[in-house]
Amino acid sequence: NTPNTTPGAPDTVNVGVIAILDVAPIYLGKSKDFFTKRNINLNLIQATGGAAIVPAVVSGQYQFGFSNMVSLLIASSNGLPLKVVCNGNNSTGVDGSDFAALMVKADSPIKTAADLAGKTVAANTLKNIVDTSVRASVRKAGGDPKSVKFVELPFPQQPAQLQSGQVDAVFVVEPFQQAVLAQGGRKIASSYVDVAPNLVVASYFTSQQMLSGNPDLVKRFTEAMKESLAYADSHPDEARQIIGTYTQIAPEVIAKMTLPKWPADVNRPAVQTLADLALGDGLLAKAADLNALLP
């Protein structure tokens, strides 16, 4: 399962990531040599989303991957042999100041998530963490989550479509939160915060085969990853700086962005809440087996 088996030589490890700010720790960790010092030659491969990374990890092309938690729950409940190795990123847990937000136009009559009944909300992917979280916000605000309509729209297009009135609300992450703010948009909810305190948004994972075939490498990777997460969490300025190297976000925007939290360990109750919500929303065919998935 490891591409490089020469004794003594560093293990080359392919990790599938998405070029968003959530994965700043692994880039930072790489630049800080947290991986090389554990004899891991880290090779970061950018993909468009978890849906492309999961198969690559299962088939062994990548040894590890980064994906949002709901995708992992769905994959796992469909029988894919996945194993989370460590946390990815969490919401800040601060209502009104998260790295993602449910937002409306400046002059929108919508004041709270409850007002979204019958309205259209843009989500970057449907039947996933975003719509589940937004429904949670609506529910929490006392509205009817079933009456909210979702339309799939990639993040980059959301600010413009919100502005032109094609959608009533958007759920955006950084840097698009800044873009909506810049055009006068308002936050009406921090949905990730509404789901659960310290919601686990994403995590790093590997396959069961990898885990049983090369437990030592998994262990070393997990250690390095945890060190990276901790470092990024405590050095936000360096994290901001590294984001500029693998994305094309303008520096002035990077400076203003709200960063997520990067705890090293998975917040199991939050995942449980998420899994229950996903089951309720029909995303999962059957209840997820968290013991199999989580470390």
Binding site: G16, A19, Q46, A47, T48, P55, Y62, Q248, I249
Partner: protein, 255 residues
Amino acid sequence: MSRALWGLAGLAIFAALGEALPRLGLISPLYAPPLSRILSLLGDQVQQPRFWTATVDTLKTWALGLLIAVVAGVVLGVAIGAVPVLRAATASTIEFLRPIPSVALIPLVSLLYGATITSTLVLVVYASFWQVLVQVLHGVADVDPVAHDTARAYRLGRWARVRYLFWPTALPYAVTGVRLAASVALILAITGELLIGSPGLGREIGNAQDSGAVPQMYALVIVTGLIGLAANLFARMAERRVLAWHPAIRGEVPV
């Protein structure tokens, strides 16, 4: 020569529009920045190795995919076309497989191969293969009966017939097929990169979009357009050399 000048004039007018429309506020410069801005960003891009890696990746996928498709298409096309039984037996299958849109394979290949060059390559090969195959089949079917009789009367063997009769007859069709395939292949290479996330210009475009970097995105889009333009010019040139004897090439009839 004056043709080329006209063409350049056309490009110049187009460029001028690209500059003027955003400047005059007819299009929001936020979403469609003026051309000069895009070009200056393009100037920055070309100094970065990352840009060149992406370009080379795209070109590699494109060229390799095209090559595989052309070789497979031509070989299969001539083989199937030259044997009537084979042609009859495969006709329905080809008619069925051909219209399956290559993007239908995107979810499949991204599952099977992940965000790798292989994924995009499969798409490119699949899409361009049919263009070549169908053209070559048409071409072989178009063999002149008199020429065929001539070959048989002079006892040309099967191989000689393929070499001197079927192949030259099919060649103009094949060249057209290759030209069509080249542009389809480029489009799918970039689409694949954009949607699957395999390395290349397409992914860079996706990246620029995800970062909200609109001018960068346009700069890359222009690069893809230019590559397409160059590929087409190149294909036309090759056509002129290979098909010097063909009526369409040897005398251009003025309208």
